[in-house]
């Protein structure tokens, strides 16, 4: 069972899409798993043959449980989807204590309780223990975790569960990550003019949205400032990631939010980015995201769009180290050389992890985003 985020403890196998004996290729979707974030398609990251399936459909198992044996992999057996479980440096099974071990304060909790709590980002210090000598045991953790959301039978998204998952991840973020915040105002007149000219010649289905330009600009700036693109884990500290996978916050009608990755954002053309965005939004709302899309984001961009307000200060999604917030594009009087002009402007903010970077570097990064948006034709 892959870990599909810092806040995931267990998942329910909904169905197998490959049967024993089927040939598997890198990138194939082999199963569907239900999590707090909806039904997620589990990908395989190796070639081989589907062997014995260890878990039957409609079974709920903890993260890290082998789902199936993949045969014919370099002469040895490999468990299904190990990549998905190891790719995110989110608290994995191998280091279960790290996120909850409070230095100095010894919390009496059993190994099983610690592992379950770490997998879901649950702090143990507020829990009452009912185990031997008052120890917090697995049942106490499970009671706490299930208190917020009753299991739902319907397919796709469960907004209550999603709210619970967001709560766990954001609580952990605000507790563990020393955020700092920067803001700048970006003149969007060139970007919008270029976009209008480009879209005028296109049929509606081929048109671009401003979000595509801003995503590409952020990706290009990240190439220059890699300190905002990667993961921070305890212990070990920050590790920059070479690929730029931008988690794109997508609001779910009725409440809820997911930030699936647009992979290799800096290498995609604007048209490819637009197609990705369209596809992701549709599947996110359908509750049909893929495992790698949930685990891979190396940074998040959250945009309030035209119905939002002017600025947004985000909360970092651990173990990422930065989130860029983009406000509504609004006409505002600004000084252009020595005249005042009304121009469309957008507030861009950065919330970043102070353990990894400082405000100086953050401001250089935001300025780089601004600079890219002044030359939209180069994006």
């Amino acid at each position: 069972m892959p870990s599909l985020g810092a806040d995931m403890e267990a998942g329910t196998l909904v169905e197998w899409l490959k049967q024993p004996g089927d040939k598997l290729h890198h990138g194939d979707i082999i199963a569907v798993v239900e999590t707090e974030k909806g039904a997620i398609e589990v990908e395989i990251f190796m070639d081989g043959i589907m062997g014995r399936q260890l878990i039957a459909p409609h079974t709920k198992v903890p993260v890290g449980t082998p789902l199936a044996i993949i045969e014919g992999v370099a002469g040895e057996q490999a468990k299904a989807a190990p990549k998905a479980a190891e790719a995110p440096p989110a608290p994995a099974v191998s280091k279960p204590i790290a996120p909850t071990a409070a230095p100095g304060a010894a919390i009496r909790a059993t190994p099983a309780a610690r592992k379950a709590a770490a997998a879901r980002g649950l702090a143990l210090d507020g829990l009452a223990g009912t185990g031997p000598e008052g120890a917090i045991q697995l049942a106490d953790v499970e009671r706490e975790l299930s208190a917020a959301g009753a299991p739902a039978a319907r397919k796709g998204l469960d907004l209550d569960k999603m709210r619970h998952a967001i709560a766990a991840a954001m609580t952990r973020s605000k507790r563990d990550i020393p955020h700092y915040y920067l803001a700048t105002t970006i003149d969007m007149s060139r970007a919008l003019a270029w976009l209008a000219a480009t879209n005028a010649a296109r049929a509606p289905e081929a048109r671009l949205l401003p979000a595509v330009l801003t995503l590409k600009a952020v990706a290009a700036a990240l190439r220059r400032y890699p300190k905002f693109n990667g993961f921070y884990n305890d212990p070990g500290g920050f590790v920059a990631r070479e690929p730029i996978h931008i988690g794109t916050a997508i609001a779910i009608r009725g409440g809820g939010l997911v930030s699936p990755a647009i992979h290799d954002c800096d290498r995609l053309s604007l048209d490819e980015l637009m197609a990705k965005l369209r596809d992701l939004a549709a599947r996110a709302r359908d509750g049909r995201l893929r495992s790698s899309e949930l685990t891979d984001p190396t940074i998040t961009v959250s945009s309030l769009g035209e119905r939002g307000v002017e600025s947004l200060y985000g909360v970092i999604y651990p173990p990422q180290v930065a989130i860029v917030g983009l406000g509504k594009i609004v006409p505002r009087p600004i000084a252009v050389e020595d005249k005042i002009e009304v121009r469309p402007v957008m507030a861009a903010t950065l919330a970043a992890d102070h353990r990894v970077s400082d405000g100086h570097l953050g401001s250089l990064f935001l300025n780089a985003v601004d600079a890219r948006l002044q030359e939209p034709e180069k994006l």
Binding site: T110, P111, A112, Q137
Partner: protein, 331 residues
């Protein structure tokens, strides 16, 4: 299953041991039984009663009181093609044959580079409860389970008493079978067709979700009784019968503990350096992250087993102590 196998007879553990001996003697002419008082007296615990009359003195051989001597003879016979069954009256007396068992039987396969094997079976009684005092009452099977080259079995049920011997005889290496003295009189149903059983797997004797009671031999009935009491208090105990003490079936032990997240080991040996200690260590090594409580042990008091009945009973693992330990880890 044949019609014969469905027929069930009420037998004692002692009967089952005798049926196993008889069956082996009938099936394989290389098999013979040797030990103190196994012939004319019928065995110290009457296991071999009647066999001398049926199979004659060539195959049911009374020996002098010389454990080292007749165990050595058994090793030699095994190396030369026979399938001897050596009976040692109690494990306490097996200490006199330790040199033969540990230095010869267990090593020859390795020291000869695989050229010679010792297909020998040694049966012995073990355990306390019959007021036989310290020199006849100890549970030393854990010592033998320490030694590579030996297999160590502890049948705790009628089926295993009936079925383990033949599988042991077929093994190409030395196998020690420990029969707990308090089990001989226990009775139960046995299918008429009952026969050989595997000797490489532990068995779940009762399934449960809340705690694993891991035990073997003479402590199994106590663990089952404790599980019954616990069930009355809302705690579902799973009872794991080790059956084979060497090699231990880690897979079954760990699967049970991973499920229940709590383990109590019941072992009539002393705590220090015991089988219970070894099992506890393996649980830490393999399923630490599944544990919801420290592993608990119920073992014999660290004294030579006393003679007076009340003191003897006080020194041994008992049902109330098992129940208390289980409740302690459940919390």
């Amino acid at each position: 299953m044949s019609a014969a196998a469905e027929m069930v007879a009420e037998v004692t553990y002692r009967d089952a041991c005798r049926m196993a001996l008889r069956d082996a003697l009938v099936r394989d002419t290389r098999v013979f039984l040797m030990g103190e008082d196994v012939g004319h007296y019928g065995g110290c615990y009457a296991v071999s009663k009647g066999l001398l009359e049926e199979f004659g003195p060539e195959r049911i051989r009374d020996t002098p009181l010389s454990e080292s001597g007749f165990t050595g003879i058994g090793i030699g016979a095994a190396m030369n093609g026979m399938r001897p069954i050596v009976e040692i009256m109690t494990v306490n007396f097996a200490l006199l044959a330790l040199d033969q068992i540990v230095n010869n039987a267990a090593t020859i396969r390795h020291m000869s580079g695989g050229q010679f094997g010792v297909p020998l079976v040694i049966r012995m009684a073990t355990g306390a409860g019959r007021q036989l005092a310290a020199q006849h009452s100890h549970s030393l099977e854990g010592w033998f389970a320490h030694v590579p080259g030996l297999k160590v079995l502890a049948p705790a049920t009628i089926e295993d008493a009936r079925g383990m011997l033949w599988t042991a005889i077929e093994d190409p290496d030395p196998v020690l079978i420990f029969e707990h003295v308090m089990l001989y009189n226990s009775g139960g149903p046995l299918a008429a067709g009952a026969g050989a059983v595997p000797i490489d797997k532990a068995a779940i004797r009762r399934a449960g979700q809340n705690v694993s009671l891991i035990t073997y031999g003479g402590s199994l009935p106590k663990a089952l009784k404790a599980a019954e009491e616990l069930a009355g208090q809302g705690i579902e105990a799973e009872v794991v019968d080790l059956r084979t003490l060497r090699p231990l079936d880690d897979e079954t032990i760990c699967a049970s503990v991973a499920k229940t997240r709590r383990a109590v080991i019941v072992d009539e040996g002393w705590c220090s350096g015991s089988l219970a200690a070894e099992i506890s260590a393996r649980i830490m090594e393999k399923v630490f992250w599944s544990l919801d409580a420290p592993v608990a042990r119920v073992c014999s008091a660290e004294v030579p087993i006393p003679y007076p009945e009340h003191l003897e009973q006080a020194a041994l693992p008992q049902v109330p102590a098992i129940v208390a330990a289980a409740k302690g880890v459940v919390g």
